[in-house]
């Protein structure tokens, strides 16, 4: 059926087309055009194209179809809109809208898996507040977006559009605000309608203001235009107050938005909850721009600087009060000098007034920088921020800065610094990463406080220092220096620290593998074995990167290896036998009997001359035989007498006395004593008479051994 209808339309279409051509050729152009129109309308492709265009526009305007995001082709030239207005409609649909759309879509997917593009349409719920905007009962005729310059634009609208507009206006005037479903042309037509047509009739500017306010409120795109047109009308009507009021409203609207943006990211607003700041403190902090440097990027440091800044300003202010002035006044005084001397503005000129405000603001930043520097110094952060401003280039300005601000701040800060908190561990780590030489201060403290032979504690301290420096690229140097330091006092600790050094060196950007000095190595390793053991540990560490294993192994280097003593039974027996032989041999020599001794003596004496008789022998011949002494001891009379003299003198006689005795007996003292000792030696196996300074003494027990019992 459809095909038949199409064929008929083609036939008639072509027929009328041919007729139109004939008309053009005959010169009857009007009739020819008319016939051509009929012919075109009859041709199916033309009608199809016309309908497709219309449906697609409608679908797009109603949010139907495949996409809700307008493409370059579909996006019409629209009235200028603010982002806030534009966003909810097309570019940035709210999450709720998207969800709703997705639900609808998923429902349709459930119903039929194919989306037919037909003439039927679905409604996407309106974004306008439902309380204020009513939905149109019969729908809003689509009206492609276009710039609307006057009410006359309505003339180009279709009948449906015109009808809808009339209805829309009537509703608006009755306080019912229809949902335009994005067709803002109606709102703008209404705007011009109210401004020109209606106002010309009633000339009531207040009524117009009320109507435009309502229009702006419910159709926000029109707000700014409405306001500016209204101001024009008010100016035309001579309503100056009205103009001011509208302008003020416009300004406050913009300023509200801008002031919110300014303070939102300022320090006071940001940290008011976190630090429990009072209003005045918030205001003081909001005078600053976020410093945004590496030091203050660390929140702990920033907070400490802020605290110090607030405390400093508090004291500063109290000092000012004592001097019958205020902080503001002092800052203003500096700003005044800057404005006059640096900018060379005339007093009370607009520039002068403006610069007073801006310079005073900058002064707070200067105070903050001083505080920041103090905290940096306190935390051993090497780099400082410059506290000088461009104004310091003028000496007179710099002098005022020094006098009014810097000198006072410098006096206040040292008192407040002790209250600055010690950095927490993450901050320490961060600071050490920023200052690669910061560890040296702490290291120096450790070395100064190092107590000799407390190596384990030192290792722990260094490891902790290493933890604080784990992000520091110089981390390995801490362990290397520590190893060098302790090498003289604790060898094991030095090696443990060296292992730590090597481990961190392995994990650093470049593997330096620094060696300890030769002299230190000599001190560390007393034997070759120790050095070999340590080299093995190091090689294993480099290969396996197992720090714990290496540290554990270091302790074993200096543990003495227990030596096993192997005894050889056969060797022992041999030694024993040899020793027995030696003892026997020595016994022969050391424990000779009296006889061989006598012989030896005689042999010696014989050396003097064969058959000669010695003095001693002569004396022996005259041996006393009183029977007091045992027979084994061959003593002569003089010797016996002397011994008896000893006995009667408690076994101690002065040398002089012995000398006298010897002389009396025609003998020599030393020879007499020696001869007695010699006679008794074999019996006693020791010397009988001993010299004791100026005396001769006899050990009583020995004497007892010589006398007959």
């Amino acid at each position: 059926m459809k095909t038949l209808l199409s064929v008929i339309r083609w036939v008639f279409g072509l027929f009328f087309g041919m007729g139109a051509i004939g008309g053009f050729m005959s010169g009857d152009i009007i009739a020819a055009l008319f016939v051509l129109t009929i012919a075109l309308l009859l041709l199916p492709p033309v009608t199809k194209a016309l309908f497709r265009n219309r449906n697609s526009f409608r679908n797009i305007s109603q949010g139907k179809g495949v996409s809700v995001v307008p493409t370059a082709a579909t996006a019409p030239v629209m009235q200028p809109m603010s982002k806030a207005e534009q966003a909810p409609k097309f570019q940035k649909p709210s999450v709720r809208e998207v969800n709703r759309y997705m639900n609808e879509r998923s429902r349709s997917i459930v119903d039929s898996s194919i989306i037919d593009v037909t003439g039927q349409s679905y409604r996407i719920p309106d974004q306008q507040p439902k309380s204020a905007i009513s939905e149109s009962d019969r729908g809003v005729p689509y009206w492609a977006h276009q710039y609307v310059y006057s009410y006359a634009e309505l003339n180009s609208a279709s009948a449906a559009q015109s009808n809808f507009y009339q209805r829309f206006k009537a509703s608006f005037l009755n306080g019912v605000y229809l949902d335009l479903e994005g067709n803002t042309n109606y709102a703008f037509i209404l705007l011009f309608d109210l401004l020109n047509k209606d106002y010309e009739k009633h000339k009531d500017i207040e009524k117009l203001e009320g109507q435009l306010d309502a229009l702006g409120e419910h159709y926000p795109k029109t707000r700014s235009y409405a306001n500016s047109f209204l101001i024009q009308k008010m100016e035309a009507a001579g309503d100056i107050h009205g103009v001011d009021r509208r302008r003020m409203a416009q300004y406050s609207h913009y300023s509200y938005q801008s002031s919110y943006d300014q303070d939102q990211w300022k320090l006071g607003t940001q940290y008011k909850a976190k630090l429990g700041l009072a209003e005045d403190e918030i205001s003081l902090l909001n005078k600053l721009w976020n410093p945004g440097n590496t030091f203050c990027n660390n929140e702990f440091c920033l907070v400490e600087v802020m605290k110090l800044y607030l405390a400093t300003l508090k004291i500063f202010e109290s000092q000012c009060i004592l001097e019958s002035t205020t902080l503001e006044q002092e800052f203003k005084a500096v700003a005044d000098v800057v404005a006059r001397k640096y900018f060379k503005y005339r007093s009370n000129s607009n520039n002068y007034k403006y610069s007073l405000g801006s310079v005073a603001h900058e002064l707070y930043t200067t105070v903050f920088k001083h505080c920041e520097n103090a905290v940096r110094e306190h935390y051993s952060h090497k780099r400082k921020v410059s506290t000088e401003t461009v104004y310091h280039s003028k000496p007179e300005v710099a002098a005022v800065f020094e006098e009014k601000i810097t000198s006072r701040i410098n006096a206040i800060l040292p008192k407040l610094l002790p209250s600055v908190s010690i950095p927490d561990i993450p901050t320490e780590i961060e600071l050490n990463a920023q200052n690669t030489g910061r560890w040296k201060t702490k290291f120096e403290e450790l070395t100064i406080n190092f107590k000799a032979r407390d190596g384990k504690q030192f290792i722990q301290d260094i490891i902790q220092l290493g933890e604080y420096n784990k992000k520091n690229p110089s981390l390995e140097n801490i362990f290397f220096e520590a190893s060098k330091f302790i090498a003289k006092t604790d060898r094991e600790a030095a090696l443990v620290l060296y292992v730590h050094y090597l481990y961190h060196d392995l994990h650093s950007a470049t593997f330096n593998n620094k060696q300890l000095a030769k002299t230190l190595q000599k001190n560390l390793f007393q034997t070759e074995q120790q050095l070999t053991d340590f080299t093995t540990i190091i090689q294993e560490l480099i290969q396996g990167r197992d720090l714990e294993k290496a540290v554990g192994a270091v302790a074993g280097i200096f543990t003495p290896k227990r030596k096993k003593i192997e005894l050889n039974r056969a060797a022992i027996n041999e030694v024993q036998q040899q020793h027995a032989g030696t003892v026997e041999l020595l016994n022969d020599y050391l424990q000779e009997e009296e006889e061989p001794q006598q012989n030896a003596e005689n042999v010696g004496v014989e050396n003097l001359g064969e058959g000669e008789v010695t003095f001693e022998n002569l004396l022996l011949q005259a041996k006393g035989s009183d029977g007091f002494f045992i027979e084994e001891v061959l003593l002569n009379d003089a010797q016996c007498e002397l011994l008896q003299l000893f006995a009667s003198n408690s076994f101690t006689i002065a040398q002089q006395e012995v000398e006298a005795f010897a002389r009396m007996n025609n003998l020599m003292r030393n020879q007499l004593i020696d001869s007695i000792n010699e006679c008794c030696y074999e019996q006693l196996d020791d010397v009988l008479i001993e010299e004791d300074g100026e005396y001769y003494t006899i050990y009583e027990n020995y004497f007892q051994q010589l006398i007959k019992k």
Partner: protein, 441 residues
């Protein structure tokens, strides 16, 4: 095992060793591991007794037993009727000098002259008197004068003539002055002039520093000085032998002090003196003379400052090239004292335990395994490898035995664990470096 140890010897051994010194008697019972050395020494002593002369160098590291061996030599030599003298080289005592340091060594030797009945030294006067007695009695017999009358002053010229005659017979260089001084001694005795006798002894000991002084006191023109002291030693040696003694033995310890002489010329002169003595002894220029030097390895072998730095000595003292650690040659002039091995120390400790038991008449329960364990503990103590000596092992072992004896139930393991090794070496490193420094300059 007891080897006929006498209780008296046991006591002496235990007491002396506890005190860290060599015992006076019974030393033969602790001569473990030194059998070949002792044998060699005994043989040498026999040779000297028979008229030969000998020089021996006892070389060993700290704690190797040099002092022990010296002491043993002393003991045996004294028993063998030797006159023995001990002296140490010091920075002020040396063999050659021209500032009195050589004669100082001579004085030290003469001061320490010991005989069996006077083992602690100072026997010169005794020996002198003994010799004079012999001369007197001989003169009395020759002249037919009764012994009771021979000491009269009228017979003094006879005695003096006899003394001079004997002295002339036995001495060569410096014999006249030597005889005069001995006569002066006798004169002092006869005339009861103690001062004269002291002066004579002072001269004989080389304590006169100026000739004038000696002439005033004794009327002699010469004194014993750095140059002639060695001749006097030889004279004394002949004198002692003539008196009936087996010989004269001189032990010179701490030869490191010659090594430490900072000027190389002076050091060489001293080594030259050693060479002279060595040559005299082995070439038979002196009889019955036995001289021992004791020093460390570096004293002998250091090519720059040791005895080997003097080529003539090096060629004489070099080790028999066929000798090894196992095959030893103890007939060489140099006897190296090797440290005792573990087996020898084990035998020594076992012997000490027996001696200790004998001394205290107990039988301590210390097994061989426990002795072994004690040794292991000792050798595993920190510093053991550097400065553990037999002296310390012995002393600690005896100390532990003492504790066990007095506390029978005590834990021996714990006792062994408490041992500490101390460095008992003299601090010589500082001196060495100083000497090196001076020499470099």
């Amino acid at each position: 095992m007891t080897d006929n140890i006498k209780p008296k010897e046991a006591t002496a051994i235990v007491n002396s060793l506890l005190g860290g010194v060599v015992p006076k008697i019974g030393v033969q019972h602790i001569t473990v591991g030194r059998s070949p050395e002792i044998e060699a020494f005994i043989n040498s002593l026999e040779d000297v007794k028979n008229g030969h002369s000998m020089v021996k160098f006892w070389i060993g590291d700290f704690g190797s037993g040099k002092s022990f061996m010296m002491h043993l030599l002393n003991t045996v030599a004294l028993k063998q009727k030797f006159v023995v003298a001990n002296a140490d080289f010091t920075p002020d005592n040396r063999l050659y000098s021209n500032d009195g340091k050589a004669v100082a060594l001579y004085s030290a030797i003469m001061d320490n002259i010991a005989i069996q009945t006077k083992p602690e030294g100072g026997a010169l006067a005794t020996l002198l008197e003994k010799w004079i007695e012999q001369v007197v009695s001989k003169t009395a017999q020759e002249e037919g004068i009764p012994l009771t009358a021979i000491r009269d002053e009228q017979h003094m010229p006879l005695i003096q003539r006899s003394i001079m005659k004997t002295i002339n017979e036995i001495t060569d260089v410096g014999g006249f002055d030597f005889g005069v001084v001995v006569m002066k001694y006798y004169e002092g005795y006869i005339s009861d002039n103690e001062q004269l006798r002291r002066s004579a002894l002072k001269w004989l000991k080389g304590e006169y520093r100026t000739k004038t002084e000696a002439r005033q006191d004794l009327g002699v023109r010469e004194i014993i000085n750095d140059l002639n002291y060695y001749d006097m030693l030889k004279n004394f040696c002949r004198l002692f032998v003539s008196m009936g003694y087996s010989g004269f033995m001189i032990n010179l310890d701490e030869a490191i002090n010659l090594y430490k002489i900072s000027t190389s010329v002076m050091r060489e002169k001293n080594y030259e003196k050693i060479l002279t003595i060595y040559n005299d002894c082995f070439q038979g220029k002196v009889s019955n003379f036995f001289i021992n030097f004791a020093g460390t390895n570096e004293v002998l072998e250091n090519e720059r400052r040791g005895l080997f730095s003097y080529h003539a000595l090096k060629s004489r003292l070099e080790t028999n090239k066929f000798e090894t650690l196992q095959i030893r040659d103890f007939s060489q002039p140099v006897i190296r004292l090797m440290p005792l091995d573990h087996n020898e120390i084990f035998v020594l400790l076992k012997k000490l335990k027996v001696i200790f038991d004998l001394n205290y008449k107990v039988n301590l329960e210390v097994s061989d395994d426990e002795i072994h364990q004690f040794m292991e503990e000792m050798f595993n103590k920190p510093g053991a490898s550097e400065f553990l000596t037999p002296r310390e092992v012995i002393r600690d072992f005896l100390n532990i035995l003492s504790i066990i004896r007095q506390n029978p139930g005590i834990d021996k393991k714990q006792l062994f664990g408490e041992i500490e090794i101390r460095d008992e070496r003299p601090d010589e490193s500082a001196v060495d470096s100083l000497v090196d420094g001076i020499e470099v300059l």
